[in-house]
Symmetry: C2
Subunit: 294 residues, 2 copies
């Protein structure tokens, strides 16, 4: 619905708070992710999974605005007004610009890594090294898992190791892939282009899980044999709930984890968009919104 103001990885200082706000005060560092409201009462909200609210999430932009009418506007703005229940605390030791993409590129791999038990003694694969994948690698490593990056780009191997991967496997190298057959406890697949799932499913142990967090526009193919020779799980994950997002931010504060970004002025967004289409970004563009007033 036009006009649209996008932006769902928002970080800034609180300028003012409402009379009933208790968790924030003016001057605090605060963040807003993909959602600004949900019903807060359905059984999914009750489980802290507001992103699956059965009565419908109010997304940060381009959702019907229940309070103001019209549509919600996102973070490409001078300011946003958000209920404190959907506002996150940001650890003060983090660089605000580098922390902003945690609100989507961070929580998206974080949620399945936590749900499916990434940690010490586990071998975890991350497929794809983009905005989501580079955070998947950092998180899997920081959670204590043996971390393997799968990429189609030999040029990304060095960066994969720098970001924390113990191993980098070129997924086009069948022999290299075969060495990991039936050995992974968890794979988080961040690829949003068409790609074959069966070669990654073959890397999973019995009862291990592959989680799709990318959204290829078309359906992907899966062989039933990938699902039962041996028995394995294919699932998906969509951002994360509010409490889980706060948990992720707190973890980042404790472990000093942020995103690798390139800070741009708002008048550079068209060039940035063109570069993003060519995958020429390591690994997220962040807009300095102060540039809107300059």
């Amino acid at each position: 619905m036009f006009p649209v103001v996008p932006g769902h990885e928002i970080l800034g200082r609180v300028s003012r708070v409402g009379a009933k706000v208790t968790r924030f005060k003016a001057g605090d560092l605060a963040a807003v992710g993909c959602m600004v409201d949900a019903c807060r009462t359905c059984n999914h909200c009750a489980r802290g999974l507001e992103q699956f609210c059965t009565n419908g999430v109010t997304f940060t932009y381009n959702s019907p605005d229940k309070h103001m009418g019209g549509m919600t506007f996102g973070g490409y703005s001078e300011k946003v007004v958000v209920d404190e229940a959907f506002t996150l605390k940001v650890p003060t030791n983090l660089d605000p610009a580098k922390a902003a993409p945690l609100l989507c590129a961070g929580i998206t791999p974080w949620s399945p890594l936590r749900k499916w038990g990434a940690g010490p003694g586990k071998k975890v694969g991350i497929v794809g090294l983009g905005g989501l994948g580079h955070m998947g690698v950092k998180f899997a490593r920081a959670l204590g898992a043996h971390t393997v990056l799968f990429t189609t780009s030999a040029s990304k191997a060095a960066d994969g190791l720098r970001l924390g991967a113990h191993e980098v496997v070129l997924s086009t190298d069948a022999a290299a892939m075969a060495k990991h057959a039936c050995s992974l406890d968890l794979i988080v697949d961040t690829v949003s282009a068409d790609h074959a799932l069966d070669p990654y499913m073959a890397l999973l142990k019995l009862d291990a899980t592959m989680v799709m967090v990318g959204a290829p526009p078309k359906p992907q193919q899966i062989s039933s044999f990938s699902l039962f020779m041996p028995r394995r799980i294919l699932t998906g994950s969509l951002i994360g709930g509010v409490a889980e997002t706060q948990e992720m931010l707190d973890f980042c504060g404790k472990h000093d984890i942020t995103c690798d970004i390139e800070l741009i002025r708002i008048d550079q967004i068209n060039q940035a968009y063109e570069r993003m289409l060519k995958s020429d970004v390591k690994y997220r563009f962040v807009i300095d919104m102060a540039s809107l007033r300059q």
Copy 2:
């Protein structure tokens, strides 16, 4: 590898036992399923999942025979010789002919129904009403689940209800399918032909599971949105381990559950095979092996 003697749903009387056999004696009713051996020491065997033995299962027919050389021969025989560790006890109240297909058509839906918690308070779907599906319906009902049969054949509705389904849904009826959207806790998909998975995934609740037990020859399509809008699981299942198969047989004895079959003589197998190809069987042909000697 020819010559082949198939047959992996075997039931009969013990004629003789070896000197160290303790669980069976001559005259006992005994059964053999898809497997006659496995390594018994790998971590999958140790978990009772011999069907996923990492050192290789010895299947009941057409597997290399470790003891005798050559290949194993299955149940289309006057007799089989099987290690007692892979031989099942059969409850004596069951009709032997009707119990035989439990060894594959029974254990195949039983295993995922148990693993994924089919029982009271759960809504369980069975997709397809063939040999596996008709047992899926009986088991889901007997386990206490609200049982819904999904079929493409309106002509199977009455039989679905007779077999125990609380509801039968024609999967080609989009409006009927829509009524079950996001409501099922578990679906066991027994279809082995090409079919769309997304319409069934859409019936699952958050974090609910669809299990493929059929083996379509080609890969099937799955949309990532089916996996994360909301979060859902797609997995598979392959027969079951020895202990789990015994559990299923004991359950059948307690609840007086057997398969719906048509008993044939061995000289009728070619006609039976032709009828099976046309789905003209309710729901399993069983060969009376006494007919081999007549």
